[in-house]
Amino acid sequence: MELIWQGVIEGFRLIFSLDPEVLRVTGLTLQVSGTATLIAVIVGIPLGTWLGVSRFRGRGTLVTMVNVGMGLPPVVAGLLVSILLWRNGPLGVLRLLYTPSAMVIAQGLIASPLVIGLTRSAVESLDPSIREQLRSLGASRGQMLWAMLNECRIGLLAAVIAGFGGVISEVGASAMVGGNITGHTRVLTTAIMLEVSKGNFGLAIALSTVLLTLAYVATALLTNLQQKGTRR
């Protein structure tokens, strides 16, 4: 108990003393997970919307695949990206393995199904007649889709929150494709793993405190945005 308490205090000391190593690791964590979430949003919201409004053969299978993807274990995502980026792999020439870019790709792979799946369910939860009603008010196809996304913005923000929460907390993929290289690909989760394996529980708890604070602040910001949207 004493150990945890000491670690938490140390964590806040690290945050407020602006320790350069912690700042760098935290910065990279935000950068990698933020970029991955952004990519997942750019890819996932249009795809999720399309899945939500279209009817075609094989749609059910696709939806199931996305739903399975929502539970994709980070280690598996890491393995897939490793195979792709391996020196002799199909994308090996890009020499991306053990770089932050590789981590962004792996995390993007983890976050995208979450964003796609939750966007689809948000769009499908709208009143089925809303499309015809918007059409009848003179909306073009683009205007109709935009208005529909605006209607389910709360669900879309939930998708973003889930995507970000999924990647900022994962360690398997980051460790596998990033390699946890000091000053290059070390992020909070991989740093925590390393410290634990070295027996530095105090520092691990401190870094965990930083991670939790970061996750809390980011999620609180998004939630705040979301709750503004609930005022109907």
Binding site: D127, Q133, R135, S136, L137, G138, A139, N150, R231, R232
Partner: protein, 358 residues
């Protein structure tokens, strides 16, 4: 607007799950014409409106708007959008957007990219015209049914459509609210001079609006004509029963059979219970009034019906036929009409109509 037709449907069919839910060989709506469509649930009324609104592509057939072919799915998107912007439909359950009432009413004008000042002016006018100006900054959640309907009407009317389609705009409203909204609507329709199609299952509302009334059943047009004429002259038994002619009797029961010169084979005679007097046998003179017909019956059921009572029971001469009539509250209260007792149903056949079987 050109010519005498605003919209024309030709051989339009809508098939869903291998069932034909709409089958309209021909229907034309003239500019400025007010049409009312009645029919039971599942008669195809809403489907017809959605085809007219150019939001539902018929499985087969052609839709012409102002002489131009306007089939969703085959007419190109830009032309279709331009035509669709001349029609608007108020849905039976309007989905208001999760923004203020004012922004809801402005939505359609914003889709048309009108200048802001014009949007503001138009929105203000219609909010005021429909008596919902004080709701302008409210959000849809928490609006009453009547308020929601008014917002939905305002956001349609603000678009100044050439064709306004109203799908049971007064359903789900209580009687006074309905009457008030209907009154407003009549005035507004006269003011905007648009063509309008009103779908309703309130038969009594229909004649208020329309130049023409269409009765639908099973996806087809069963009958059409002037509302006051249609309402009293159903074309078939199904329409008759929908129009409130609850008494449908084999015509051969009526004697002499020469009534109205009708050829009675395979025909039925129908009459509304309101037009049939149910009176205790003792209270009646020996013979029916001039021109009237009287049937003896046994009372099987008595139920309140407005200020009076509806009395039903099998006829003595044809016990398989159950007839309904209206008895004043006083005779029921005095026990002169009671279940199991004898009664006379008396009516003037001129108040009813002869209909065919189908």
């Amino acid at each position: 607007m050109s010519g005498i037709e605003l919209v024309r449907l030709a051989d339009v069919r809508v098939v869903r799950d291998r069932q034909t839910i709409l089958d309209i060989p021909a229907l034309t709506i003239a500019p400025g014409e007010l049409l009312t469509v009645i029919g039971a649930n599942g008669a195809g009324k809403s489907t017809l409106l959605r085809v007219l609104a150019l939001v539902l592509a018929p499985t087969a057939g052609q839709v012409f708007f102002d002489g131009v072919r306007a089939n969703p799915g085959s007419t190109d998107d830009a032309s279709l959008l331009a035509l669709r912007r001349r029609v608007t439909m108020v849905f039976q359950s309007p989905v208001l957007l999760a923004r203020t009432v004012r922004d809801n009413v402005a939505a359609g004008l914003q889709f048309r990219k009108l200048p802001r000042t014009e949007v503001e002016a138009q929105v203000d006018y219609w909010l005021d015209r429909l008596g919902i100006a004080e709701l302008a900054n409210r959000r849809p959640l928490g609006l009453s049914g009547g308020e929601t309907q008014r917002v939905a009407l305002a956001r349609a009317l603000v678009l100044k459509p050439d064709l306004l389609l109203l799908d049971e705009p007064t359903a789900n409203l209580d009687a006074p609210t309905r009457a008030r909204l209907l009154g407003d609507l009549r005035g507004i329709l006269a003011e905007v001079a648009a063509s309008a199609v009103l779908v309703t299952h309130e038969v009594r509302e229909a004649p208020y609006f329309a130049d023409r009334m269409i009765v639908m059943g099973g996806g087809r047009i069963r009958q059409q004509g002037r509302p006051d004429v249609v309402i009293d002259n159903p074309a078939d038994r199904e329409t008759a029963s929908f129009l409130g002619f609850d008494n449908i009797l084999p015509a051969t029961l009526l004697e002499p059979a020469a009534y109205l010169g009708a050829e009675l084979a395979d025909k039925s005679f129908c009459i509304r219970p309101e037009d049939v007097a149910a009176a205790p046998l003792a209270a009646l003179p020996a013979a029916a009034r001039d021109g009237s017909i009287r049937f003896a019956a046994t009372v099987a059921r008595i139920a309140p019906w407005g200020p009076a009572f509806r009395v039903s029971g099998p006829l003595e001469r044809a016990p398989s036929v159950i007839m309904s009539g209206t008895a004043p509250a006083a005779v029921v209260r005095d026990g002169l009409v009671r279940e199991g007792a004898g009664i006379a149903f008396e009516f003037n056949p001129a108040a009813g109509a002869f209909v065919g079987q189908s």
